[in-house]
């Protein structure tokens, strides 16, 4: 009991809220062609990359910020942001970990991310992204032996231009929506993964994102390509320091699965959610999209969303190949003044495609949560099926839980089933647990974990433990 209490006290406050004093190089404030050229230049990018960015920027200029989402936020001044910020010590990229700024290493140690390979967690290769740049990637040698490419995307642009050129923007084109296009224009770094034909990636790949500098937008771009018959499991974690102002995070993630390939993408998102009065916090406006390009391919999204002031994202699957499978498992928890508008899109284009959506939403305090999803079965997607289940749990009468599914069926040989429920934790269940000696908070924790179990068990083991704790912590103080 005492231990648990200690742990809670430890974790109750946002423990990743510190910031690190590291000298930064920043692009001039504001958004214009010069800034884009500056970013491209500092990264020593080839001409085609700059062209890609400028094309996106042209498009961005005519786009308007969307306003259909449920959580409203004050207008973002895009000219008042820094679009590039990098630790000064990274200007000439260190050759090995030993050359890394000790302050950086310390930061990651504080976060519990081991960059030193000897202090590693069991078999997880990490790519750490600090503000706008990737600072370290571990286990490169071991992966290279199998032909796996796992590196910062800026490096991939230099070393593997043929792959980047072919796939970058093939799922999220430069002409996409407002935030995705902004990202295409100014993205700074992110991870690149290529798994060659027939290779089963021997370890979990992981990226750890951290926003440190203030007034900085973080725009990473992740591109994962799983070639024929390959398999990869990829994890993503995020934290940010506590600051009073809201910070924008608009990442793009593109997944491409070719014939018989499988990609499993897990996220534990724990950006700074703002304080109890809703001041500060991250705006998490991310575009994640996976393309099941080949036959029998599979893409599976798992997300645990506990952080951010506003979460606004819809990890999607485009099921283009015949017999391809898309999955989406999500837990979203909002407390205090957090807001979330999240869900998924399953677009069935190929024959015999299957998709499954399990979404669990928990809202407490004065928070507001929306599940918004689309299931679209096109007229050519014969024999396709979708199953959707979205459950919401409400705690207290100041919060809201909403479900907005869009269901389109244009094929008579396909089936769609959708279920949604909204309720609170029943008095009977609480009573039952309390009768057996649990205090109310433990009882709620137990019930909530049970509610989320279906999703939690989809996570890789190391993450599942962390996520389970996170679920408990996020709801601290919301009972009673």
């Amino acid at each position: 009991m005492d231990n648990r209490q200690k742990e809670i006290n430890n974790l109750k406050d946002y423990k990743y809220g510190f910031s690190t004093d590291i000298e930064n190089i920043q692009a001039p404030k504001g958004l214009n062609e010069d800034v884009i050229k500056f970013i491209s230049n500092i990264k020593k990018e080839p001409a085609w990359m700059l062209e890609f960015r400028l094309k996106a920027f042209e498009r961005f200029k005519v786009l308007k910020e969307p306003d259909w989402q449920k959580p409203k936020f004050p207008k973002i001044d895009y000219q008042d942001l820094y679009y590039y910020s990098a630790p000064k010590s990274m200007k000439d990229k260190p050759k090995s970990l030993d050359e890394l700024d000790p302050k950086l290493l310390e930061t990651y140690k504080k976060l519990g991310i081991p960059l030193q390979e000897q202090a590693r967690l069991n078999g997880i290769a990490v790519d750490a992204v600090f503000d706008s740049v990737s600072v370290a990637t571990t286990f490169k040698d071991e992966l290279t032996k199998q032909g796996i490419i796992f590196c910062p995307i800026s490096e991939a642009i230099q070393n593997h231009p043929e792959l980047v050129k072919k796939y970058l923007g093939s799922v999220i084109p430069t002409s996409d929506h407002f935030f995705a296009t902004l990202n295409s224009a100014v993205f700074t770094d992110g991870s690149f993964v290529y798994i060659p034909e027939g290779v089963r990636c021997p370890m979990e790949l992981s990226t750890y994102f951290r926003i440190n500098a203030s007034n900085t937008g973080q725009f990473e771009r992740t591109l994962i390509i799983a070639d024929k018959g390959s398999y990869v499991s990829y994890l993503e974690g995020c934290t940010a320091p506590m600051r009073d102002e809201n910070q924008l995070h608009a990442a793009n993630v593109e997944l491409i699965a070719l014939d018989d390939a499988e990609i499993k993408y897990s996220t534990v998102q724990n950006w700074y959610p703002g304080d109890q009065d809703g001041k500060g916090g991250i705006y998490n406006f991310v575009t994640k999209r996976g393309l099941c390009k080949g036959k029998n391919s599979k893409i599976s999204w798992t997300q645990v969303e506990t952080g951010s002031a506003i979460t606004w994202k819809y990890p999607s699957c485009i099921l283009k190949g015949d017999n391809s499978v898309g999955e989406f498992y999500s837990i979203a928890i909002t407390n205090n003044h957090q807001k979330a508008d999240t869900g998924t899109k399953m677009i069935h284009l190929g024959k015999n495609t299957k998709s499954k959506i399990i979404s669990k939403g928990i809202s407490a305090g004065s928070s507001d949560m929306t599940y918004r999803g689309l299931v679209d079965i096109s007229s050519k997607a014969k024999n396709s099926t979708n199953y959707t289940q979205c459950d919401s749990l409400l705690m207290g009468n100041k919060c809201g839980a909403h479900t907005v599914p869009y269901i389109k069926n244009k094929n008579s040989e396909s089936n769609i089933a959708h279920e949604a429920t909204t309720s609170k934790i029943s008095e009977e269940q609480l009573h039952y647990c309390q009768q057996r000696g649990l205090n109310p908070e433990e009882a709620v924790g137990l019930i909530v974990n049970g509610f989320c179990k279906e999703v939690l068990q989809q996570l890789p083991m190391e993450f599942a433990v962390e996520a389970q704790k996170l679920v408990g912590i996020s709801l601290e103080g919301s009972v009673g």
Binding site: W68, S379, S392, L394, M395, G396, N397, K398, C399, G400, A401, H402, T403, V404, P405, Y406, I407, K408, N409, K410, N411, S412, E413, S414, N415, I416, A417, H418, E419, A420, T421, T422, S423, K424
Partner: protein, 415 residues
Amino acid sequence: MKEQLQKDFYNSIKNLSLSQKDIEIKKFCLDNFIDKGFPNKKEEDWKFSDLNQIIKNNIGELSFYNDQASTNKVDTSVFVDGLEHNKIVFINGRIEKIDFEYEKKDQIEIIDQSETINEFENSNSLSDLNNAFTNKCFKILVKKGYQLAKPLIIYHTTNSKIWSKNINLRLNFELDKDSSLRLIDLFNDTSEKNFLNIFYNFELKENAVLKNYKLDKFDNKNIKYSFNNIDQDKNSISETFILSSGSNFSKNEINCNLNGVYASAFVNGVFSLNNDKHHEIRSIINHLTENTKSYQLIKSVLEQSSKAVYQGKIFVNSDAQKTDGYQLSKAILLNKESEFNAKPELEIYADDVKCSHGSASGSLNEDSIFYLMSRGLSYQQSRELLINGFLLDVVEKITDSEIKNLIKNMLGIKE
């Protein structure tokens, strides 16, 4: 369209004895409509049915002026046989007959409300259009404690005299304490290519019971929009049944405000569509106080390249604890060209609630067909039997047995 609207508007108000103020209000509504135009798919509520486009493709140019001076002959052959009922007859948008022959005259009051402008909560441009052009509007008041002995059938008839016209109708109902009304809307059109824009407003006082059956069964080439606004007080019950089948395009909207405790609302619907018909039901149930209940069941059978849309929303206010909301939509797609779209929505701000929705769409279950065929039925018979049973589920929800039989006969459902 603007010039046409203005010209028709002045022609219409010329024949009416309106005060300057009323004309101004109507003018204001007209300007609103001119400003917004017909709803299109850019509006969230019209995402699946772009009315502007549908009118353009099916009708082309609409005219808005209706000559209300000449009377139309009431064709008694359209009247429902074998069911004693009161009648209101609309022909081409003009009220030709109001007849409550089975009721106590002093218990029902018919009030001319032509000057009042209806304001609806979730108004779209069509309510402006309706307000600008309706020229006769009645309020039917059922007095305290009176329960109508026989159902009231409203005949919506149009004949081939009109073409490419917009017809606007409006009716208000008030059901005082402990009263009850059974209301059937029966559409019978021999006209083509007209746009009907119908607004009903119901006010249900304590313990009042409203049963509204909207039956659009007979094939016609018109485009219909119908909006029901229902305000419900304590203990009142509203039951709405929609048979959506006959028109080329039809959209039924139900907006129900559960204002009093223990009020309950039921919305049941059947889409039975063929050819390239496109129908939609959109329901918004607002649970505004505690202990209210709503139940919705929508079933669709879609043939050829028809398209059905169901948008249902359950809204629960933060005061509305102990809400019970349920919503289910199911569709059978019989042809590879047919399409079913759904947007079942929950918006909940109270925690002690029980709300759920479900939606399923797909083909006829081949296993069930096999089961029946292995017992000697032909493929066609098995198919019919299954569809029959599928739809019967909704029809059985109708609480009035007389009307239930009428609708069963209409749908050709056997027991």
